[in-house]
């Protein structure tokens, strides 16, 4: 069953950037790609639970601020050491200027 949750204003995220949102004590990361598509993943790196929203977005890659581990945020796939576990992704869409994420 989908549960679309309002994660904030779409305009608050710059292109090729990420913001962190906390819902019910759980961290999420919301991304806006260069071509204006929005994506959502878990907010903590699978390596050592560091907040990905402080990392660097390059194309479809989010690089973790702690050990430079990389994920493709569109699929959650880890891209090389020290990442050994993929990142969970969530469907995201923009409705009336708000980013909605299906937290399932």
């Amino acid at each position: 069953m989908s549960t679309w949750t309002d994660m904030g204003a779409a305009g608050d995220i710059e292109q090729e950037d990420v913001v962190g949102v906390e819902i019910g004590g759980r961290a999420y990361a919301i991304y806006r790609s260069l071509d204006d598509v929005y994506y959502a993943t878990d907010g903590l790196c699978t390596h050592q639970q560091v907040r990905l929203c402080e990392g660097l977005v390059m194309g479809h890659i989010i690089e973790c601020p702690k050990h430079n581990g990389r994920f493709d945020y569109t699929t959650g796939e880890g891209r090389g050491v020290p990442i050994r576990e993929n990142l969970r992704t969530y469907p995201a869409k923009v409705v009336d200027g708000r980013v909605l994420v299906d937290l399932g």
């Binding site: 950037d17 050592q48 639970q49 402080e54 990392g55 660097l56 390059m58 690089e63 601020p65 702690k66 050990h67 430079n68 990389r70 050491v81 020290p82 050994r84």
Partner: protein, 351 residues
């Protein structure tokens, strides 16, 4: 006088660090506005390509001159310069390319990383993982495998590091052990098993290369091949030790604030080229995503919240050498840098 500590990765101090919450802990960070931080984190290929062309180009030039002048004494200054580029600049290239921040283009980082690892005789896989741990648990005893200034310090051994006396033989011994398919308990504590195959593969390739160098020396009845590949890790090591010791020596252990265990030292441009700006070491630890060519700007951005930078390499040695001498009899002695008063949100100083 305090008990000597166990710096191994499998000992009591490591277990105590985990129990005390010092492993994978939350570290202090000086706040930087996201917009500015994004600017500072931006990658570009230009500065690293320029420096790499210069680095490798100078090595070729110095090596050509040294070979041409061999075996006269006139070759010595050229070998000396070549050696520093081989045995010292490879340390910072290993470091920066290992973080993946030196170049924007991924394969360039990988290529320079592999070349630098070979020169500095550090297995590309185990050292990547050891450095990951160094960033998680910087100078946490029993967790950080890259602590140089262990207390009480063995000053004689540290002095010999300047000539690679231990590092090259140790690197070669480790290479042979890896080539035989063996990994130490310390290495296994931070290198996942799935990576071991890569460790052994690279070690075997390197072993063949080093055997080829020795064979070339024997066949030609000359030290020249080894002076070009391998031995520069000894006779050119002094600069990376000179700069590397300034990073953490004499500062505190088991603290989760890089301002208390890392040091920023202003250096001359030649040393900064060889060291690829790692003199901004505190800044690098606080924000490892910032590439070497933006560290000076990061320093300007956050220096209000850091202990004053040390004005020169000599000043850094004047600060930590006496402390290390004192640590020989009392290992609890260390430097406690003066932290600036915290600023309030409106920019004024807090109480």
């Amino acid at each position: 006088m305090s008990q000597p500590r166990d710096y191994s990765m499998t000992g009591d101090d490591g277990r105590a660090a985990v129990a005390r919450g010092l492993a994978d802990a939350q570290w202090y960070q000086t706040p930087v506005a996201r917009k500015r931080l994004k600017e500072l984190m931006q990658r570009s290929d230009g500065p690293a390509i320029r420096d790499t062309v210069l680095w490798l180009g100078l090595m070729v030039a110095f090596a050509t001159a040294a070979i041409a002048l061999w075996p006269s004494w006139w070759c010595v200054p050229f070998f000396a310069a070549y050696g520093v580029l081989y045995g010292s600049a490879s340390d910072s290239r290993w470091h920066e390319a290992g973080h993946g921040t030196a170049f924007k283009t991924r394969w360039m980082n990988t290529a320079v990383y592999q070349i630098a690892c070979f020169m500095i005789v550090r297995n590309p896989t185990t050292w990547r993982w050891s450095h990951t741990r160094h960033h998680s648990d910087t100078i946490i005893v029993g967790r950080d495998p890259e602590i140089v200034g262990m207390r009480p310090p063995k000053l004689g051994s540290i002095a010999l590091y300047f000539f690679g006396v231990f590092d090259l033989p140790r690197g070669l011994r480790t290479m042979v052990r890896h080539a035989l398919g063996r990994i130490s308990a310390d290495e296994a504590s931070y290198t996942p098993e799935s990576e071991h195959r890569k460790v052994f593969r690279d070690a075997r390739i390197w072993t063949v290369l080093y055997i080829a160098i020795v064979a070339a020396c024997v066949v030609r009845d000359s030290w020249l091949p080894a002076l070009l590949v391998g031995l520069p890790r000894m006779y050119g090591a002094w600069h990376h030790v000179l700069t590397g010791l300034t990073q953490h020596c004499g500062l505190d252990e088991d603290v989760t604030d890089h301002r208390l265990n890392s040091r920023t030292v202003y250096m001359n441009p030649v040393s900064r080229f060889i060291y690829w700006n790692m003199n901004y070491h505190l800044e690098h630890h606080m924000y490892p995503l910032v590439p070497f060519h933006h560290l000076r700007e990061l320093h300007d951005e956050i220096k209000h919240d850091l202990p004053p930078a040390i004005p020169s390499i000599a000043a850094a040695y004047r600060q930590f050498v006496p402390v290390m001498f004192a640590q020989r009899t009392d290992p609890s002695v260390c430097i406690h840098p003066q932290l600036p008063a915290p600023r309030l949100a409106d920019g004024t100083l807090g109480a």
